[in-house]
Symmetry: C2
Subunit: 148 residues, 2 copies
DNA sequence: TATTGTTATACTCTATAACTATA
DNA sequence: TATAGTTATAGAGTATAACAATA
């Protein structure tokens, strides 16, 4: 059993509510900053997972993405057709395959991050100095929170 | 033309990147905390928009949700069938209709917020005091950012 | 004649069930 | 016999085009 978490007081509850609302709204607007309209959200998500976790088999990808295996077969085939992943034989088990992202995919993801960062930076530029200093301090904590 | 925004320095760019990544990841996990599995994301989103903006015509909803009018006809019909919205005649234009959420919908949304807040609070309870103080200070700034 | 909303129809995405190949 | 992946098929969800009612 992991360490017990503290209990939050009423002020904290207000902050939690504010945090949830802001995160949901910001993410909705960030998602609209798409770099390639020809990729479905599912395809984009698989590329993101491959970038985070490296190569994976179709079965592993299906489990990570909470999608059934036949759906992943289709998604991978679409990505392969666009030159964003390649399928390689599994070194130890001839039933399985290994899905690996291409350099083209890495470049596209980097471009996507760049575009969303630019949009967010434009927004952040409209805050005053103190407000931005507060957010800059909070950024690493938010990242920790997101990975808990 | 609105006020010019400041330019961000390299440290700021790192913070922006961290912020974007954390917001996207947190929102993905928050969305999984669903209170009603029988509502599609589109239906949930329309209810959220109605809660924020009050009553609206189907056309206004289609524009706000970035969906075509026939799709909104269908979504509204589904919500109506579940008793979450009612359709009323438009007071000035007999071509239009007014979509209004019911008390049942408000209760469901409140329950949804409550569940997501509880999940987030549980996560926040695992941060130490200093980290949480930093986030509490940042919450209102994030909300301002999300509404810019 | 333009606009609001709906109906008819096709396309995309995902799921379940059945199949093939390998362990 | 069990597992990884694919193929076949059906069910949501959305879009485009054509239509009805009102401005």
């Amino acid at each position: 059993m992991p360490e017990l978490s503290r209990t939050l007081d009423p002020d904290d509850n207000a902050a939690v509510n504010s945090l949830r609302s802001a995160v949901m709204r910001l993410s909705r607007r960030l998602k609209h900053q798409r770099v390639d309209e020809s990729l479905s959200p599912a395809e984009m998500s698989v590329l993101g997972t491959l970038a985070r976790c490296g190569s994976a088999t179709p079965g592993e990808l299906a489990r990570k993405e909470h999608v059934q295996p036949p759906s992943m077969t289709r998604i991978v085939a679409l990505l392969e057709g666009k030159g964003l992943v390649v399928l390689e034989p599994h070194p130890e088990d001839r039933r399985q395959k290994v899905v690996r992202q291409t350099e083209q995919a890495e470049a596209m993801l980097e471009e996507s991050r760049r575009k969303r960062n630019a949009w967010l930076a434009e927004l952040a530029g409209q805050l005053d100095e103190d407000e931005w200093a507060t957010l800059r301090a909070a950024a690493p904590v938010l990242e920790k929170l997101a990975h808990l």
